[in-house]
Amino acid sequence: MNEEDSPYLPESATILNVKKMAENEKLFEIELDSGEALNHDPGQFVEVSVPGVGEVPISISSSPTKEGNSFELCIREVGNVTGVIHTLEKGDEIGIRGPYGEGFPVDELKGHDVIFIAGGLGIAPLRSLINYTLDRREEFEDVKILYGCKKPCELLYEDEVEEWREMDEIDYRETVDECPDDVCWEGNVGVITTLIPGVDIDLDNSYTVVCGPPIMYRFVLQELKEKKVPDERIYLSLERRMKCGVGKCGHCQINGKEGEFYVCQDGPVFNYDVVKDFEEAL
């Protein structure tokens, strides 16, 4: 069989660097063995293979504007494949397929304010877009980042967050659901929705992009509704079980009265106005 023909054949890639970010998350810097760049859009994902163990979809966490041909994945250890990935080290080989899916509509966002709302691991896909906007800062208007975690120790990308805190050209706000007494934390305490009321949103000129655990969406969207943010100005990145990444295996289908979506092809980034009536979406 001609190699190009199989959509299921991963390319081999090598881990250039592993960085522990929090108790269950590590950042992997990866380069394709072909030496070529991944050429992804912010918000797209790849299928990561550990031969003999399995394959998992992971959002690309670095921006295509990043220097060099490597890309970054932020992976939380939750199960079988991710568990084994966490044991890998610099120099180990893995398989990569992709990039897949529809990313964020970068061109549509250009020339507008962009408000990022990230909960927990939701920062991973958003970071590709955040860094994109920072690298091409002049192409966007105001940039606001709202980032919430359960506890301070779960904060990801600490070095970058430190820079965001200091940056004048963006508005960065953070919160934790709870903070143990013995930890020093200067930010807000409370769920992510508590940050939203305090943010100025230029309804005509801004886009809001949201990513977080399933439970978060309902509350954030409620809050945005109260602020009268138009539904079509909200983008979400959704997650579903996935086996093939190329619209065949059927696992990532989302249904509702209106029809259906395949997260791997029609998403993972969706416009809220399009998916809001899908019972299974949110």
Binding site: D5, Y8, V50, P51, R240, R241, C249, E280
Partner: protein, 346 residues
């Protein structure tokens, strides 16, 4: 339309079994049922059957199939795998031909699934018009009791002879071998075939009370009738039988298996089913279709609506396999669709 004697056709099949390098598959009996299986002799063919346990889909998308092989002895090496066995498949009913046409669209959709497509391209499909119908089938209602294309050859039983329609050059090539014994059909014979096709449409015990074209909107309207779905799904085992036996179900699972050396292994896909409990479950335990009723509804939506939205086909061809093989007897599409239809007017 051509005519060949039955014994000539059998001779052809035996000759193919003997000399053709392709595998010859045909419908055969298994206990009280029928299956598509490798033919040892033309004698074993049972072309007057009602329905097979599994559809012929298994030859293009095997129940289990290796997609990728890997080896890690000297660095990671991965190879795509596609075991293509060229085949001639004899005895496919019209509804299954229709289903294959639908599957072709799914797997040809970008990115193409070469594992399916290459197997498909290397197959010759010999259809046969139905003489008897399964008690559970409703192909008449679904417009799949007969087909105009999708086959390489299509047989119709005319007593001691077969009328043969040629659908492609793959089909006509097969007839080359017996060209001396093939003659054109007479107008009366053509008439007989047309009549037989017309008649079979009314032979089905089960039927849909309305046009299948109305299914997509009917299902959209009834999606949130939670009580209805819950009631009907109550006895569901979540056993996936209705998925596995369906000619238009194609969802799959992918798993890795390593060799005992731990240095090589394969990635395999296996048929999966949306009725199985873990189908939409993700790490950490969140299950996006946790309730039996949600899964149950999903299957009907998928048959009557979702695939229509995506490819323009009603993804139920009315073969009745699901209903006949569901042990608690709750998987009959006509039953559910008709109930929904009746409920709509109330």
């Amino acid at each position: 339309m051509k005519i060949i004697k039955k014994n000539v056709f059998e001779g052809l099949v035996d000759e193919l079994i003997e000399n053709d390098e392709r595998e010859i598959i045909g419908v055969q009996s298994k206990d009280s049922k029928y299956v598509f299986d490798r033919l040892e002799k033309a004698e074993g063919l049972e072309l007057d059957y009602d329905v097979t346990i599994l559809p012929p889909k298994k030859y293009f998308m095997p129940q289990r199939e290796t997609l990728v092989e890997y080896e890690t002895r000297e660095g990671l090496e991965m190879e795509p795998v596609n075991e293509v066995i060229p085949r001639i498949i004899i005895g496919i009913h019209p509804y299954d031909l229709e289903a294959i046409k639908q599957m072709d669209k799914v797997f040809a959709d970008s990115p193409k699934d070469s594992n399916y497509l290459e197997k498909r391209e290397n197959s010759v499909l010999i259809g046969v018009n139905m003489q008897q119908t399964s008690d559970w089938s409703f192909a008449g209602s679904m417009g799949t009791a007969t087909v105009d294309d999708g086959y390489d050859l299509m047989l119709t039983d005319l007593g001691k002879k077969y009328a043969v329609e040629i659908g492609s050059s793959k089909g006509s090539d097969l007839l080359e071998k017996i060209s001396e014994d093939v003659r054109d059909a007479s107008p009366e014979e053509i008439d007989k075939v047309e009549k037989a096709k017309e008649e079979i449409k009314d032979e089905f015990d089960k039927e849909l009370d309305f046009s299948p074209q109305k299914l997509p909107s009917l299902l959209a309207d009834t999606y949130d009738q939670d009580d209805f779905w819950e009631e009907n799904a109550e006895d569901c085992y979540s056993c996936g039988t209705c998925n596995i036996v369906c000619p238009t179900c194609y969802c799959f699972d992918v798993q890795d298996f390593s060799d005992i050396s731990l240095e090589e292994g394969e990635r395999m896909r296996q048929w999966d089913g949306c009725m199985l409990e873990a189908f939409a479950e993700v790490a950490g335990g969140e299950n996006f279709r946790e309730e039996r009723a949600e899964r149950y509804r999903h299957r009907y939506m998928r048959k009557g609506r979702y695939l229509y939205n995506r490819f323009g086909d009603i993804a139920c061809v009315g073969c009745g396999r699901c209903s006949s093989q569901c042990v608690p007897d709750i998987a009959d599409p006509t039953d559910i669709f008709n109930k929904l239809w009746r409920g709509k007017d109330e």
